[in-house]
């Protein structure tokens, strides 16, 4: 079970999520096939990171946790997102919640190598998250039918 | 995967050598545009031939050897000899020339330009990049003895030319303990 910190707005989201999961008011048909999207983040800007993840989260809220299969590719300046997550409660909370809904983060190996970023410096990152090339991963996912979104 | 990262590291090292290569190429030809072209060509050759590099520790000498060859090839393509006066030596009347330091720099450039190519290359390789004689011998593909004799003659020549320039500037004839003039002014 992954750790998460239920604070403020994030806590409210989490609650809504749990309610949705327990099927309290769910009358809608389960989606036939979850839509597949991939977010590409390559800018080193914490505000942008927060914005992007919030955007993704509201997407989940619109379609429900099973309505979406999402990947977030962190590449170039975006690799630092998981570093900032250590110190930024809201960002960290979003990462946790998204992961609970099945979002997988993909970390560009080239970027990590060229910027000297180690896996253990990134919040909740596992070896399986790392891909050799962020762009190649984006290419592969699009080929598999993922919709490309650059927030 | 490991080889690729190693290659990438070497590529980065080659790219990082660019400012030093430019400085050397400029010292050889005193022409900014030509120096740029030489460096571009040398770097491209180095990058495409990286796989054939035997000894990673000799990367810098290897790259400068490629630069030397590019310069030599350029020289062969030139039909006319390069006129010293057409080089990018800091202009005589520019305000920049007024400062003492810039004047001295321009004098050294001019003195270097007057050396033969062989002499100029040896001096710049040793004085600008601190290459050891053995490395210079590799880069220029000449025996170490040749490196040493070219170097000592080149420096003797430089000393002579610089003193003549200084004497001319000062309006005196050069004599006696020579570089003392330089020392007093800038030492």
């Amino acid at each position: 079970m992954r750790r998460f910190a239920p604070h403020g707005r994030v806590g409210a989201v989490l609650l809504a999520l749990l309610l949705a999961l327990t099927g309290v008011a769910a009358q809608a048909e389960p989606p036939a096939d979850p839509a597949r999207i991939v977010y590409h983040i390559n800018v080193d800007d914490p505000a942008h990171h927060l914005n992007a993840l919030q955007y993704l989260q509201s997407h989940f809220e619109a379609v429900g946790p099973d309505g979406l299969r999402a990947r977030v590719v962190l590449h170039g300046g975006g690799i630092h997102l998981l570093d900032y997550a250590h110190d930024n409660v809201e960002l960290r909370g979003l990462v946790d919640v998204l992961k609970l809904q099945g979002v997988e983060f993909r970390l560009c190996g080239n970027t990590m190598e060229s910027r000297g970023v180690r896996l253990d410096e990134l919040y909740d990152a596992e070896p399986g998250d790392r891909v050799p090339s962020g762009l190649a991963e984006l290419m592969r996912l699009q080929r598999e039918g993922y919709t490309y979104i650059k927030p | 995967m490991a080889t690729w990262f190693a290659q990438r590291r070497l590529r980065q090292q080659v790219c990082e050598l660019r400012p030093q290569m430019y400085r050397m190429a400029f010292a050889w030809c005193h022409d900014a545009a030509l120096a740029d072209d030489l460096v571009q060509e040398a770097m491209m050759k180095a990058l495409t031939r990286l796989k054939s590099l035997q000894d990673e520790n000799a990367l810098k000498s290897w790259v400068f050897r490629i630069l030397t060859n590019c310069y030599r090839d350029w020289g062969r393509r030139q039909k006319d000899t390069v006129d010293v006066d057409s080089m990018d030596l800091t202009c005589e009347d520019c305000p920049e020339r007024q400062t003492e330091r810039n004047r001295l720099i321009s004098e050294v450039h001019r003195a270097m330009a007057e050396l033969s190519t062989d002499h100029r290359q040896v001096v710049s390789l040793v004085d600008l990049e601190g290459f050891a004689y053995a490395e210079v011998s590799e880069i220029l593909d000449v025996p170490i003895g040749t490196v040493m004799s070219r170097l000592s003659r080149a420096r003797a020549q430089l000393r002579k030319v610089l003193l003549e320039q200084q004497a001319a500037d000062q309006g005196q004839t050069a004599e006696g303990p020579h570089l003392q003039l330089v020392r007093n002014r800038h030492g």
């Binding site: 762009l135 | 400085r23 040493m148 000393r159 330089v182």
Partner: protein, 263 residues
């Protein structure tokens, strides 16, 4: 060094030895030996000191020499450069060897049929090789077409982009897939393809040599804006091509089903 060792009968080390001493070429023992001789003679000491000073002087005279690309002063305008013609020549050679390929997406051609007159004619008319504007080689069923849209980039990002392109080609090769990559550059990323400012022109050259299906295209609208702002035409790298509009090109490729990545 042994063969240059000072003759015992000479009082004075040779010029070359003094130079070698100043350049730190001696082993510690030889160095000590020579140092003793030098310090005994005022004339020698002065000469060595002068040599040191000359060395310093030469070093100092070139210390600030820097290419505009590396942040130095821009050189005289209107430079004529021979390198582009060399590179363009090489590019022409490479492209020429591809003339055998049909310039459509007909997968059948992958079987390796020799050059037809049609193909040669297609290649020869229209834009010539001299403008380095040639369509992609074969795009088979197993090919990936990727459009990299570069809007803004600093020197680091540009270097990483080139690394990424290299990685993509490597992976494609490992997977046995063909890859066509077109890089569309506009706005503030244009430095990447400018002849006078490109931070990595030789990497661009080397990459296009290694991967003929790689294209660098520059948005003409951005170039015109820059030309107006700077009061002179902007030269792009010889490997780069102009396209009318970067945005239109990106949209066109997307509608053709290309993979789109905004960098």
């Amino acid at each position: 060094m042994a063969d240059k060792r000072v003759n015992a009968q000479d009082d004075r080390p040779s010029e070359e030895l003094l130079n070698a001493f100043v350049d730190g070429e001696f082993s510690p023992e030889d160095r000590l030996e020579t140092l003793k001789r030098i310090s005994c003679s005022e004339h020698l000491s002065r000469e060595v000191c002068d040599m040191h000073q000359l060395k310093e002087l030469v070093n100092m005279a070139y210390r600030d020499v820097r290419s505009p690309r590396d942040g130095g002063r821009p050189g005289p305008s209107g430079r004529r450069s021979w390198f582009p013609s060399v590179a363009a020549g090489m590019l022409a050679l490479v492209l020429g060897s591809l003339a055998g390929f049909e310039l459509t997406r007909d997968a059948d051609f992958l079987a390796g049929a020799p050059a037809t007159d049609d193909a040669a004619a297609t290649l020869a008319d229209g834009n010539g090789l001299s403008e380095a504007a040639v369509s992609q080689p074969v795009a088979a069923a197993d090919a990936d077409n990727v459009l990299l849209h570069v809007n803004e980039a600093d020197a680091t990002a540009m270097a990483e982009l080139l690394d990424d392109i290299e990685a993509m080609y490597r992976e494609a090769e490992a997977a046995g897939r063909d890859l066509n990559v077109q890089v569309v550059v506009h706005n503030s990323a244009m430095d990447m393809l400018r002849a006078d400012r490109a931070p990595h022109p030789e990497r661009v050259a080397a990459l296009t040599l290694d991967h003929p299906s790689l294209r660098f295209t520059a948005c003409a609208q951005t170039l015109e804006q820059l030309a107006r702002a700077e009061g002179g035409s902007i030269e792009i790298l010889p490997q780069a091509e102009r396209v009318d509009s970067g945005v239109a090109e990106a949209a066109r490729r997307q509608s053709e089903g290309w993979i789109y990545i905004k960098v």
